[in-house]
C-alpha cells in the first residue's frame, strides 16, 4: 500500500507538473506528420514500412528521454525541495520509496506507450488498407510487412556465428536450413537476402537460386538485383522436406571477375507464424523493457547525484547500452599494440584495458538486441521467448541489480546533507 501510494503520487507529479505534456505533444505532432513528410519508394508497402519504422523508432527515443527525465526529476526534486524529509520520517522503508517511484514512472510509461502505440497501430492499419486502383500492392504488404514471420538463419551460421562468404564468378554457395516449421496452409515461404559485390555497387548482380530438399524436388529462381539492400522472393513451401530441412544455393552468373560477398546471417528463410497485431503488441513490450531499465538507472543515479548530473550519467549509460554490440566488436576485433621496446609494458596495459572494457560492457544490457523496429519493418515475428529473455536479462537482472545498488546507496545517504 505504501509503495502504491508513492507510485500514485509520482503519477500525480508527472500529470500535474505537466512534465510529460511537452514530450507527448511533440510526439503527437511528429507522429501525425510522419506519413506525409517521409519519402518512400512510392509503393504502399514502402510507405507503411517507413511509417512503421520511423514512428516506432521515434516513440522509442522520445519515451526513453522522457523516462530518463521523469525518473531523475521526480526523485531529485523531492530531495532538493526537502519533501523527502517528510516522507523519510514516515514508516516507509527506503527501498519502498525507490520502488514506488519506479512503479509510478513505469505506469506513466505503460499508459503513454499504449495510447501512442495504439495511435501508431491505427495509422499503420489505415495506411495499409486496400487502395482503389492499387489492388496488386495490398497482398504484398500483408505478406511482407503486416504479418509476423519466423526468420530462420542457416544451420551452419547458427553453429559457427557470423562468417562472410565470397562467391566468385560461376561458383556456387550453399546454405542449409533446418527446423522450418511452416504449416501446411502456408503455400509459400520467403527467401530474404543481401549481398555485396567486388565490382561496382551500382551494377546488378545476376544469380541462379536453387531451393531443394532430398525428397521434395527443387525450385529455381533467377535474380538480377542491385547489391547492398535486402531483397526477397517466394519459394513454394512444398520443396521443404517433412522434417523441415531445405538447401538453398546461389550460383554467381554476373560477369567474369565479379565476386559476390554474403555477410554472415544475411540469407534467411521467412514464413508466416502469427499476425501483425500480436507482433506489434510484443514490440511495445520490448520498448517497455528498455524503459524499465532506463528508469532504474535514472533513479539509481538520482540517489547520489543532483538532477543535471544524474540525467547526464543516465544518458551516458543509455548510449553505452545501445552501443554494447558495436563496442564489443571493436574491442574483440582490434589488435593489441606492438611497439618495439615498449611492447612489454604497452601490451599488458592494453590487454588489461580491454578486459576492463569488456567486463564493463557485460554489465550493461545490449539494448539494440531488443529494438523492435527491424522486426516490425521486416514483418519478422518477435517471439514470446525474446520478450521473456528481455524481461529476465534486462529487467530482472540488470534493472534489479541497479535497483539493489541504488537501495544500498540511498539507505546509507544522510538525506539532510545536500549533495
Amino acid at each position: 500500500m505504501k509503495l502504491l501510494a508513492i507510485a500514485i503520487n509520482t503519477i500525480r507529479h508527472v500529470v500535474r507538473m505537466k512534465l510529460a505534456l511537452v514530450f507527448v505533444l511533440f510526439l503527437v505532432v511528429v507522429l501525425a506528420s510522419v506519413p506525409f513528410t517521409l519519402k518512400s519508394d512510392g509503393t504502399q508497402k514502402g510507405k507503411v514500412q517507413i511509417t512503421l519504422a520511423y514512428s516506432l523508432g521515434l516513440l522509442n527515443i522520445v519515451l526513453s528521454v522522457l523516462t530518463l527525465f521523469l525518473s531523475t526529476s521526480t526523485f531529485c526534486s523531492d530531495i532538493r525541495n526537502k519533501v523527502m524529509f517528510t516522507i523519510d520520517t514516515k514508516p516507509v522503508k527506503r527501498w519502498e520509496i525507490l520502488a514506488g517511484k519506479w512503479l509510478g514512472v513505469m505506469i506513466v510509461n505503460t499508459a503513454l506507450l499504449l495510447c501512442l502505440g495504439g495511435a501508431i497501430y491505427g495509422a499503420v492499419m489505415y495506411l495499409g488498407r486496400p487502395l482503389e486502383g492499387r489492388d496488386g500492392e495490398h497482398p504484398e504488404l500483408m505478406r511482407d510487412v503486416l504479418t509476423a514471420r519466423v526468420e530462420i538463419v542457416p544451420a551452419v551460421s547458427r553453429k559457427t556465428g557470423r562468417t562472410a562468404s565470397v562467391v566468385p564468378f560461376r561458383h556456387e554457395k550453399e546454405w542449409v536450413f533446418e527446423n522450418i516449421g511452416c504449416s501446411d496452409s502456408e503455400k509459400v515461404i520467403t527467401l530474404k537476402f543481401r549481398y555485396y559485390t567486388s565490382g561496382s555497387s551500382d551494377e546488378k548482380i545476376s544469380g541462379l537460386w536453387t531451393a531443394r530438399s532430398e525428397d521434395r524436388g527443387f525450385y529455381e529462381h533467377v535474380t538480377s538485383l542491385p547489391a547492398k539492400s535486402f531483397h526477397e522472393f517466394r519459394i513454394p513451401a512444398s520443396v521443404v522436406s517433412p522434417d523441415g530441412r531445405l538447401k538453398i544455393s546461389f550460383l554467381n552468373v554476373s560477369a567474369p571477375g565479379v565476386s559476390v560477398i554474403f555477410p554472415g546471417e544475411d540469407v534467411t528463410i521467412l514464413y508466416r507464424a502469427g499476425n501483425f497485431g500480436g507482433n506489434f503488441f510484443r514490440a511495445l513490450l520490448l520498448v517497455l523493457l528498455r524503459l524499465a531499465f532506463i528508469a532504474a538507472v535514472a533513479l539509481g543515479a538520482s540517489t547520489f547525484l543532483t538532477f543535471p548530473v544524474a540525467a547526464l550519467f543516465s544518458i551516458f549509460v543509455l548510449i553505452m547500452s545501445l552501443s554494447v554490440s558495436s563496442f564489443s566488436v571493436l574491442i574483440q576485433g582490434s589488435p593489441l599494440p606492438e611497439s618495439g621496446s615498449s611492447r612489454e609494458t604497452v601490451v599488458p596495459a592494453a590487454a588489461l584495458a580491454r578486459k576492463v572494457a569488456a567486463a564493463a560492457l557485460k554489465v550493461l544490457p545490449d539494448l539494440r538486441a531488443y529494438d523492435p523496429v527491424p522486426y516490425l519493418a521486416g514483418g519478422v515475428l518477435i517471439r514470446w521467448r525474446r520478450v521473456i529473455e528481455g524481461l529476465i536479462w534486462v529487467v530482472l537482472l540488470r534493472s534489479g541489480v541497479t535497483g539493489c545498488l541504488a537501495y544500498v546507496i540511498f539507505n546509507r545517504r544522510e538525506l539532510a546533507i545536500m549533495q
Binding site: 505504501k2 502504491l4 501510494a5 500525480r12 519533501v83 517528510t86 520520517t89 514516515k90 539532510a416
Partner: protein
C-alpha cells in the same frame, strides 16, 4: 518516567569532500525527554537545534554517540510509526491539495481508508483548512502551509510529536493556537519536543527546556527550576492596607534586605539572552582549546548555576 528520547554523548561533525571537519554542529549532547512532557529545545540560530532534531529523526547519522527514540534507533520503522514531525518549513508536495496531502501521508502510515477520512476531516477542521481543502498546497499562504504541515504531523495520532520552529510564519493568533494545541497534546499524554528560538512562544508550555549553544548543552531543567531566582523571596499579599505593607518593607530593610515589590520572575527571553551573553564573554577571554573544554561536566554545572542564580 520512561525516556522517550535519549541521546548519549551525541556528536555530529559535518565534513567536506576530503573528509576534513567543516563544522561541529552537535557536541557531546546528553539529553533525555520523558514520556508525557513538553520539552523545549532552545538556542540561537546555528546552535544545533535542527541538527539535533534531524539526528533524532534519522535524517542525519551521528558521528559518534547514541540516539534512542522509544529505546530503539530512530531509523526503525516501528519508531517512525509513533512519531509525528513538523519540519522547519512545510516540505510538502505543492501540487497536492490538503485532502490529498493528508491521504498520502495517511497511506504511508498504513491507515485504512475510513481512518484516513475521519482523521483528515478532524485535523483539517482543527487547523481551519476545511474551506480551502481542495486548493493545491502550493497556493497556500505561509500560515496555511504551517497548518497543513501540522495537520499531516498528527495524521498517525503520534505518541511523540517533534516540532521544529512550529510558530514560525504564524501570526499571534496562530501562535496562540499552536500553544493551545501543544497543551492539548500534553493532556492526551503525548510527548512533545519543540525546537524554537522564539522563547516567549514556548515559555508557557514547556515542562522542561534545554538550551543549546554552538552545538553544546549549556542549560537543562524545568522552566521553573531555571527561571526561579533562588536568592529572592516573593511575598504575595492581598487585602492588606498600604501602611501595613510599608511597615513590613521597612522591617525587612532594617534587616539589610533588598526589597522589590515587583514580580520576582525574569522572562525566559531575558534569561536566555543573558545566558548567551555570559557564555560569549567567557569564551572571548579563553583560548580556542579552552573553549572546547567548557562543556566538561563541572564547568557546565557552574555555568548553569551562575545563570540560574543570577
Amino acid at each position: 518516567m520512561d525516556a522517550v528520547v535519549e541521546t548519549i554523548g551525541l556528536k555530529k561533525v559535518f565534513r567536506d569532500f576530503w573528509h576534513r571537519d567543516k563544522a561541529r554542529a552537535v557536541d557531546d549532547l546528553n539529553l533525555t525527554v520523558r514520556r508525557g512532557e513538553v520539552f523545549g529545545l532552545l538556542g540561537p540560530n546555528g546552535s544545533g537545534k535542527t541538527t539535533t532534531i534531524k539526528l533524532l529523526l534519522g535524517l542525519l547519522f551521528p558521528t559518534s554517540g547514541t540516539v534512542r527514540v522509544f529505546g530503539l534507533s530512530p531509523r526503525n520503522i516501528s519508531v517512525k510509526s509513533r512519531i509525528g514531525f513538523l519540519p522547519e518549513e512545510s516540505y510538502l508536495y505543492k501540487y497536492l491539495n490538503a485532502n490529498e496531502t493528508m491521504d498520502f501521508y495517511g497511506r504511508l502510515f498504513g491507515l485504512s481508508s475510513s481512518e484516513r477520512k475521519i482523521r483528515t476531516e478532524k485535523l483539517l477542521k482543527m487547523s481551519g483548512l476545511m474551506p480551502s481543502r481542495r486548493r493545491p498546497v502550493g497556493e497556500y499562504s505561509k500560515g496555511m502551509a504551517r497548518r497543513i504541515g501540522l495537520a499531516q504531523a498528527l495524521i498517525n495520532d503520534p505518541d511523540l510529536v517533534i516540532m521544529d520552529e512550529p510558530t514560525s510564519g504564524l501570526d499571534p493568533i496562530g501562535r496562540q493556537e499552536v500553544r493551545q494545541l501543544v497543551l492539548e497534546l500534553k493532556k492526551l499524554g503525548k510527548t512533545v519536543l519543540i525546537s524554537s528560538h522564539l522563547l516567549a512562544d514556548v515559555e508557557d508550555i514547556c515542562d522542561r527546556i534545554a538550551i543549546l549553544y554552538a552545538g553544546r548543552l549549556i542549560a537543562e531543567g524545568s522552566v521553573k527550576e531555571l527561571l526561579t531566582r533562588k536568592d529572592v523571596t516573593h511575598i504575595s499579599v492581598s487585602g492588606v492596607p498600604r501602611s501595613t505593607v510599608e511597615r513590613v518593607v521597612n522591617a525587612l530593610r532594617d534587616e539589610s534586605a533588598k526589597v522589590d515589590v515587583n514580580t520576582p520572575m525574569s522572562s525566559l527571553e531575558e534569561f536566555f539572552l543573558s545566558a548567551i551573553r555570559d557564555l560569549e564573554s567567557a569564551e572571548r577571554q579563553k583560548s580556542p582549546v579552552e573553549q572546547v573544554k567548557i562543556a566538561s561536566a563541572d564547568e557546565k554545572q557552574s555555568v548553569i548555576e551562575r545563570l540560574t542564580i543570577d
